[in-house]
Assembly symmetry: C2
Homo-oligomer: 405 residues x 2
């Protein structure tokens, strides 16, 4: 049985909704991957009585608890005091912690306010967790057989302290069997379309399948029990990869995220030192903005209206497709890039704004070997249409450069 | 005393961290604004025993609870069953609810799967909350003096059902005194700079001040007790507005968010039917992407390198500022727009990528009356630099068009 873990977030800004609690989600992902069962998230404000009650409750339910927030220097920061009261462990001064807080202020070249002295007091029996990235050291205590870890609420500090100070301790203190995970990143398929594609594949019994629909990409995640045979995982993974076909952008079998479409195309372009010139319409600069600092982006033009297009380019052909192909060629030739990548549509703004109406995108690519194109239908919100349009441009180039991930 | 309210989120995807629980934050904001005290958020997975225990716990602590998730048709969706068990209220079939679910499938032109019949069973004594936007009707029950509202977890459905079906009931069932709120949206000042600017202003005793640092804008929020004198609020608000000066973009004294910089500039431009041509460097198309469907955006060019800039434009002047001013003029004249808006920098990619290094942006505006410019220093992550660069372009135009909000 996996040990049971809870997440406890402290702070008025969480419980009043001023801040979305992304710490809880991030920590849960790390802990599930490490082999814990995640049973509950709780958030309360800065009230001593509520904190004390909750700490006792959790100690009775869970084997492990990660707590964030409430370690700052001000009167609202009550975590250490609440732990002291809940677990009958009076606060004690930790001279080494005081040195660490003082040295952070020295590093910042600022005098330490007197209130920060508070951050060096921990409940008796607690073990300090060093914070090299901010002023609030954390600590860990055990009560009722539940191991508590207290970390600051600032996400960047919390994450670094978890990785450096908590994660290694968890692996020592608990008998953990980490799950195995494979993630497939796709573009051009919705969740139900992915489900249809993989319908005929037989999955081992204990696999959990989940989806993460981002914009513009959708991820398919498989979680395997720790004892799952590695070769079986590989056979299944390649069956899924075949089923996803060209729509598969990348696969990750570690716990890091798989590469996105910008990264995949960048690697292929950088290998060849090739340059790209873009002409964006519906995406309105969104693709160029994703590619900031990418050395292969030679230039991009945003053309919001057909009037401007007709003024600046003499396009041949009567169909949208013919016009897109000739435009791609012009963009490539004018810019001197290796690839010209353009997108045309009907230039009817109402189609973009109305959620219920879908629109057709004609994407065209020009290379020294000739032109190619792709037609995509896209519906939904303006945001969705803009994101799909941007990714469709890059996706045509990905097809051309080689679809192997 | 304000009634105490809790948020309860159900679902494996929340507790395992696959989904960040933004529902809880959104609901908390609505409820605080309505006059509730928010005391706790809890999330658990799809386990009957955990759900039953939690429902009983909450009924003993709170006056009101909004629950999301677990109303779908599959075996994982256990909310109605858990309520039936926890509150001793066996499930009963609701023929009207069944009609509603069926009519949604008719609207979608799809046959209703048999499993969806489950969504028409509610605990005895529950009152249905209609869902016109999806298949899962909600319901409300009272237990131990706590009024529970159960809504689906899909954010778009949940929000519409809350506004149409729950909010009016809350106002009838509870004696609420909504807080008064004023929000100031700023660009170009960090939290500590805002604090310095308003330091000498005397605030009434019971005002709560909070910040929301977005990219690229920062919001300052004031919450007043319900009984606060309206004139006092207005006097304080105008003192703050003066202190924030040109950096104030907009103010909202309702519960909607204040207008962002794109909206403010759009209104000023649309009034005059003026057109803008952009040349982006550091922002790399981000500003154009924010302005999709805005009729005043004539065109935008993204120029990532100094080579391309020198190839395409003959710029006069030796300083960066002189070059930016002449470029703005060229962009305006070539495009035929009313305003030419450009930004130059040193074109050193390492400055963009390194968090610890800051960079200088020279933003220039050309109008029929001449040219003007602005110099901004910006540090931090690539994302921050790109966002500040995009907003700085628009901000120079905002200054020119009139800074009154």
């Amino acid at each position: 049985m996996a040990p049971r873990c809870e997440i406890f977030s402290q702070g008025e800004e969480i419980v009043t909704g001023q801040t979305v609690d992304s710490n809880a989600a991030w920590l849960s992902q790390q802990l599930i991957a490490a082999g814990f069962e995640l049973t509950r998230h709780t958030a309360v404000g800065d009230h001593l009585e509520a904190l004390v009650g909750l700490l006792i409750e959790i100690s009775e339910r869970a084997d492990c608890c990660i707590c964030t927030g409430g370690l700052g220097p001000t009167g609202d920061d009550l975590t250490a005091e609440a732990v002291a009261e809940a677990f009958g462990a009076p606060l004690e001064f930790d001279a080494e912690a005081m040195d660490q807080v003082e040295s952070i202020f020295k590093l910042w070249n600022r005098p330490m306010p007197a209130v920060n002295r508070k951050q060096a007091y921990f409940p008796s029996g607690a073990v300090r967790i060093d914070n090299k990235w901010g002023t609030a050291p954390g600590f860990t205590v055990n009560h009722n057989g539940c191991q508590f870890y207290f970390l600051p609420g600032v996400p960047s500090e919390m994450k670094k302290m978890f990785q450096a100070g908590v994660f290694p301790q968890l692996q020592e203190s608990f008998s953990l069997s980490p799950l195995k995970k494979v993630t497939f990143r796709t573009f051009g398929l919705g969740e139900s379309a992915i489900q249809e594609r993989i319908e005929s594949i037989v999955f081992p019994e204990m696999v959990t399948v989940s989806f993460r629909a981002g914009l513009p990409e959708v991820e398919l995640k498989l979680w395997f029990p720790p004892e799952q045979d590695q070769q079986e995982i590989e056979v299944l993974s390649s069956a899924i990869a075949s089923a996803l076909g060209n729509q598969l952008i990348s696969v990750s079998d570690g716990f890091g995220p798989p590469k996105g479409i910008v990264e995949v195309v960048s690697e292929l372009l950088t290998e060849k030192s090739h340059k790209v010139a873009l002409l964006e319409t519906v995406s309105s600069g969104l693709l160029a903005s994703w590619c900031v600092t990418r050395p292969w982006l030679l230039e991009s033009r945003v053309i919001p209206s057909s009037e401007l297009l007709n003024r600046d380019f003499e396009l041949e052909g009567c169909s949208e497709t013919e016009r897109a192909l000739s435009l791609a060629k012009l963009v490539r030739q004018k810019s001197g890039a290796d690839y010209g990548l353009v997108q045309l549509w009907s230039f009817d703004p109402s189609l973009l704004k109305e959620k219920r109406r879908s629109m057709e995108l004609v994407t065209a690519l020009s290379t020294c070997d000739g032109e190619t194109h792709h037609i995509t239908k896209v519906g939904g919100s303006l945001d969705r249409k803009q994101n799909i349009a941007a990714a469709s441009l890059l996706n045509l180039l990905r097809f051309h450069l080689g679809t192997a991930y």
